[in-house]
Symmetry: C2
Subunit: 171 residues, 2 copies
């Protein structure tokens, strides 16, 4: 509730144009609907929200099906705190197990269990289908490519570690 940053008092903000507003609205609506849709789909078929599913996928792709907590959090773009809670829940389900890191006594590995792997194997096809139906089946190859480029740019701009500005001398 402080002053909005980036707008020195007395300066007219650069509002979005009508076109930009439409784009932004479409983005918000689509991303909201899509995330909701996938959350419901996975909650129903796999018993977990989309983010949790993504964690299992990431673990499944990793060597020895394990990843340090911080690394997993970084991949999934979530906070370590959130990951801690999430892994606690997945552990209760028997889908993930924690293991101590031998080389760093602070460290923990999250390890995908066999049971976790099976949930993944059983539910992945349905999830891929959902993604296909909601996104890829509706877009031309050009649009798919374009979407990838656009989202990569946006992600890079927000990556922790990036400054958020193309102005290195400001940091």
């Amino acid at each position: 509730m402080n002053r909005a940053p980036g707008n020195p008092p007395g300066q007219e903000p650069r509002w979005l144009t009508a076109e930009e507003q439409h784009v932004w609205r479409s983005y918000i609506q689509a991303s909201t609907l899509l995330e909701d849709h996938l959350d419901r789909q996975l909650q129903r078929d796999a018993g977990m929200p989309h983010v949790y599913y993504g964690l299992l996928v990431k673990l499944g792709e990793s060597p020895r099906r394990r990843l340090r907590m911080t690394e997993l959090a970084r991949y999934a773009k979530i906070t370590r705190s959130r990951l801690s809670h999430a892994v606690a829940r997945l552990e209760k389900n028997g889908w993930v197990r924690r293991e101590d890191c031998p080389s760093d006594k602070r460290g923990q590995f999250a390890v995908l269990t066999d049971e976790g792997y099976e949930v993944l194997a059983r539910t992945a096809p349905g999830h891929v289908d959902a993604v296909r139906q909601a996104v890829f089946d509706r877009l031309t190859p050009e649009q798919q490519k374009s979407l990838g480029e656009i989202m990569r740019i946006v992600a890079e701009g927000l990556e922790p570690g990036g400054t958020g500005a193309d102005l290195p001398w400001l940091r």
Copy 2:
């Protein structure tokens, strides 16, 4: 945890190609980072999450600064339950007020208060700035246009009321 739908047992699912996977990953990462970023920005500057802010915006744009609960929920793409909770909170802040609907005794209007309007006026420039910096300043006009089209298509496909498939005879 039931069988995944859309994949009759014994049929090989249509996995995503490598390109599709990259696109999807970029999308997930960007949308996660972006929503987090905006949530934090608004939590800090306006004392509410992004969704709540969107509700105030929508009310502010509406005639007499009011909207029926169901209509507001529909615009914001959230459930009525979620809206009930949200409005309860915004009401506590004094930013929204409820009013009975004269023509339908079940109905409620959510009304943006003067105080709510002021929060909006004070914080909108900062929010627009954040959106610009994260998205529009990084994309070419062609990419912006493309993003709009793509997201419109995805949103339409998920719109409650749409079947989610181009196969009307399946419903």
